[in-house]
């Protein structure tokens, strides 16, 4: 990624009691990029996020936001951050508007016009003067987003933002985040358990397990070209295809071959002339879920989904 990172985690560590929850995390986040943050339950996602917004103090290491340390220059650095940490909890006994007014007073230079603008952006004009207690979870998520965007942050950090949104809401939310990232150059950091959601939303994913960052990947890197062949007999097909140098693997009663589209007709021709029966040939894409399971060693995903 080009450009200077807006957020840097530097050797971020957290020890609670004798347990090292987070171990030397290093991560750079860039303007305009949406980074997904994945990990099984208990991997340290929430702790990391809480340290990034100043709710928890790192045991060692630091979070640098736009060149300023969150520990030494809290007010200056956190000013550039918009956050929703877990559910967007608002003052239920006040209207949505009063909630926004409340938070706007805690930032410098957020005008009443700006509040109106943000309300319009998240599509809440009609109900903003009703009490938050009467809002659905989806409405509250929108209000949560509104409060995070009030002060035009350079860095948006969202913990499980699509929780409780319906499919239309999730889609809208995704398009909106992508718009904010590309148009305003905001760096977005999203943690989620919804792997398919992360796959659609993010440019890049960071995977954490047992407090350690085990992988950072660009999402388009995940999708190199692969094809799935359902073919009989399998041994014959394997022999033919590996004979011409295709890297292949057995998968789900067939074969998965790393290759480009233009080589497919040739491959089919060779298999047919060798006497193999072809039932299906289709592009194959490993889902993020498959990769995630592979990376984190599987077992714990059950817990992650159970949440």
């Amino acid at each position: 990624m080009d450009g200077k990172p807006i957020v840097q985690l530097k050797n971020l560590s957290k020890t609670i009691g004798k347990k090292k929850i987070i171990k030397n995390l290093n991560l750079d986040l860039y303007p305009g990029q949406i980074t997904g943050f994945l990990g099984p339950n208990g991997a340290g996602k929430t702790t990391t996020i809480r340290m990034m917004v100043g709710l928890m103090q790192p045991t060692s290491g630091d979070v640098i936001i736009d060149g300023q340390s969150i520990q030494n220059d809290f007010e200056e650095s956190i000013q550039k951050v918009g956050a929703i940490v877990e559910n967007p909890e608002m003052y239920k006994y006040m209207s949505g508007y009063k909630n926004l007014l409340h938070f706007s007073r805690m930032h410098k230079g957020v005008s009443k016009e700006r509040i109106g603008e943000v309300v319009k952006q998240v599509g809440m004009q009609n109900r903003i003067h009703e009490k938050v207690g009467s809002y659905s979870l989806g409405m509250r998520q929108r209000l949560g987003l509104a409060q995070a965007l009030l002060h035009k942050p350079k860095f948006l950090i969202l913990d499980e933002p699509t929780n409780g949104l319906d499919p239309a809401g999730i889609r809208e939310f995704r398009l909106y985040l992508q718009k904010v990232a590309t148009e305003s150059g905001v760096a977005v950091f999203v943690s989620s358990h919804l792997l398919s959601e992360i796959e659609l939303l993010c440019d890049r994913i960071a995977v954490i397990q047992n407090g350690e960052l085990i992988d950072i990947k660009n999402v388009n890197e995940l999708h190199h070209s692969q094809y799935y062949f359902q073919v009989e007999p399998l041994e014959l097909a394997e022999e033919v295809l590996s004979g011409i140098g295709f890297p292949l693997a057995r998968h789900d009663g067939g074969l998965v071959i790393d290759t480009e589209e233009q080589h497919i007709p040739g491959a089919i021709q060779m298999l047919v002339s060798a006497g193999a029966k072809i039932y299906t040939v289709q592009p194959y894409r490993a889902t993020l879920e498959d990769q995630f399971l592979e990376m984190t060693g599987g077992g714990q995903i059950a817990q992650a989904h159970a949440k």
């Binding site: 809480r50 956190i78 000013q79 006040m94 007014l101 409340h102 007073r105």
Partner: protein
């Protein structure tokens, strides 16, 4: 800071409970005036006691009190003043306020500040704890405002609320007195150390309010600390109210021990230096103020320390 307080003030008055407190306070003040009128009209039926007789009786009591060797200087001063005032009244035929008069109601209104203490304790205990229990603390502390500023705005707002309730108490007592008793006969007299002079009963009431406010202030601060440290308003409210009632009783239990001089509740009632009723005689106003200040700094110190260091996991 003003904006932060504006926020706290807005949140405070967005809760129905705060309005209920004001309503209850006004209701209680009116009720106590009404009860006072009723009791007075039934109990004193047929009893015609002139103010001269009552004043003469008080004079005798005060004269007896001043002979008591256990009296300290503050108490002696008080009784000397009372004797001088009583003698002046009898000689010059200047009657005190009737018991059932608006003026006497205003002077006695400070006794109703215990209700204000109760309400202040509830607000003080909840103002930080509720942010934790609602989960809004995460929203509040991820703003470009240092934690000590947030806590200061909450503390100051609580105290402004307490002052407001006190002012409401004073004026409601006056209004209720006016409605139920009307302006009664009598003149307020005070002893300035050398002679008896006529004084303003309003000024007297304000003096008593300020002295009584010490207990609102210190108990409010105590509840504020508990709410901040334990993050549970019910625990903080319960513990503060329990101490408010038992704390003063304990003064009598502990009165034979030296430690009583440093015990908070020995000092919470500053009117004791003004009305001669002192359960622990060998303390002075200065000493009380110092003890209260030390407790105050301790309570706030603990609040600030835990609030700014704590990892937010709510």
């Amino acid at each position: 800071m003003l904006k932060l307080m504006q926020n706290e003030w807005m949140k405070l008055w967005s809760k129905k409970a705060s309005w209920m407190m004001v309503f209850l306070l006004v209701l209680l003040l009116f009720a106590s005036a009404a009860i006072g009128k009723y009791v007075n009209s039934t109990a004193n039926e047929g009893v015609e006691e002139s103010w001269q007789a009552v004043t003469a009786a008080q004079l005798e009591v005060n004269k007896a009190m001043i002979m008591d060797p256990a009296m300290n200087d503050a108490q002696k001063d008080y009784h000397t003043g009372q004797i001088a005032i009583a003698e002046y009244r009898l000689e010059n035929d200047v009657r005190p306020f009737e018991f059932t008069s608006m003026q006497q109601g205003v002077i006695d209104a400070h006794e109703m500040l215990s209700i204000v203490t109760l309400f202040t304790v509830i607000i003080a205990a909840g103002i930080t704890a509720s942010e934790f229990s609602q989960g809004t603390i995460k929203m509040l502390l991820t703003r470009p405002v240092r934690r000590w500023k947030v806590l200061t705005s909450k503390y100051l707002t609580t105290m402004v609320f307490a002052v407001l309730l006190s002012v409401i108490t004073l004026f409601t007592a006056a209004l209720a007195g006016l409605i139920f008793f009307g302006i009664g006969e009598g003149t307020f007299l005070e002893w300035n150390g050398s002679e008896v002079v006529e004084g303003s009963y309003w000024l007297e009431a304000v003096k008593l309010f300020i002295l009584s406010f010490a207990s609102v202030w210190i108990l409010g601060t105590f509840a504020f600390m508990l709410g901040t440290v334990f993050r549970s308003s019910s625990l903080a409210i319960g513990l503060s109210i329990f101490l408010m009632f038992t704390g003063i009783q304990a003064v009598f239990l502990l009165s034979n021990y030296e430690v009583i001089k440093y015990y908070l509740f020995t000092h919470t009632d500053l009117t004791q230096f003004y009305n001669g009723f002192m359960p622990v005689p060998d303390i002075t106003m200065t000493m009380s103020l110092i003890v209260l200040a030390v407790y105050f700094l301790l309570f706030l110190g603990i609040s600030y320390w835990t609030f700014s260091k704590r990892d937010i996991t709510a």
